[in-house]
Symmetry: C2
Subunit: 238 residues, 2 copies
Amino acid sequence: MQAEATYLKLSQQILEQYADLPLQRPLPSEHELGALFGVNRQTIRAALEELERRWLIRRVKGSGTFRTRRYEYRIGPDIAPSFTATVRASGGDPRTENAKPVTRPANASEREILGLPANAQVTVLERVRFIDGAAVSTATSVLPSARVPRLAAVIAPDDSLDAVLRRHYGYTPVRQWSQSRLASPPAQIAEVLRLRGRPPQILLRGLVSCSETGQKLEYVESFLRPDVFDVVTEVGKW
Amino acid sequence: MQAEATYLKLSQQILEQYADLPLQRPLPSEHELGALFGVNRQTIRAALEELERRWLIRRVKGSGTFRTRRYEYRIGPDIAPSFTATVRASGGDPRTENAKPVTRPANASEREILGLPANAQVTVLERVRFIDGAAVSTATSVLPSARVPRLAAVIAPDDSLDAVLRRHYGYTPVRQWSQSRLASPPAQIAEVLRLRGRPPQILLRGLVSCSETGQKLEYVESFLRPDVFDVVTEVGKW
DNA sequence: CAGTGGTCTAGACCACGCG
DNA sequence: GCGTGGTCTAGACCACTGG
């Protein structure tokens, strides 16, 4: 049996040594840590990579290495997750940015999911969510255009889609089903989330319908950074 | 804006080049790939690490680098996941290994979850699951000892716990609730799963009760390797 | 025993962020 | 402009797997 590698022992030491560092304060630089522990910088990097894999630190080129915190995000039959409320409650500064909605013909899978006829149009809304200025999740909502006429003219870049559905269109949106899994994001989304490469992210899919009529209102696909969100998906009776 | 790094371009090239390689055949060695693409071995390693992060390849010391396949594993209100059936259906060779059950006093959290009185005993069963000889998941089941007397004498190393509960004890076990999230496993479990370091795994928690009486039978915590299982957790009406 | 991937060193250049 | 982390090279030794 082989002894534990240097970089794994170092990762444990670094973890303990800087456990109480404020979240805004950087750890010593990789060069400094190398000197401190008497090892090559690449060995320090291997140790930090282990901690980064475990979502305990985050490294930012040009700025430094920082401790992280994850936001618990529960998804269950009776839980309607609110991004803004969750983050605010934990002392973070959340922000949502809507792109301009685009209207186009629905493809086969969208028609299937939303129960639309062959020539239906859908309106697609891309959103990016930020915490303290960093992009942490994307969401793509697909809505039947007939149910949200002139959405592009109605929604502002920082509006909540849920609020617009309620106030402007008079719907009562409820989550009909949700699904979570891990998946490698498309390159474009990886770029928005400022990932290196395309590491797997948490993929949430869901269908929102109207409480009164049962009409299908919105199909949403969302990628969440697992280093930021501790997503807990709950099934069954609680 | 900076051009894409060499190792990321290489990872894409390698992916395309060896997309059709049989699962049992290794890719060329890191040294060979370095020579083929005219880059240093560490650059090849960075490319392979990217593919490993995305669970597209798996590297085995002493043997080589192989393409991987993931098993879809659905968890939902009406779905009782069966490891053995799922894997067999996909052409894999599943095996389960039970450790010897241990009986000890229940701790506070176990009493809370299982609804047990202060001085109750629990019987704890550790299991490891293998596919084609590789450890892919662990499970720890905690059962009220009073409901499964002499479990240690009854269960064989390769028995299914579900089957023993049905046949020997006459229960009809049903899943009452399940929960999935990502978590760094304890060092001991990381070792069993042969992970390097302690990268986050899929943590499944669940409660099994008796269909007729509603008695709580089993609390289970399970770690699944995300490179092996594509766990899909479904919530809501389908 | 030969070949594999895992670890570690020494050094270099670069893009990025912040002041 | 300076210090940060990101990338890349060259070379070395090791533990593990398989025949």
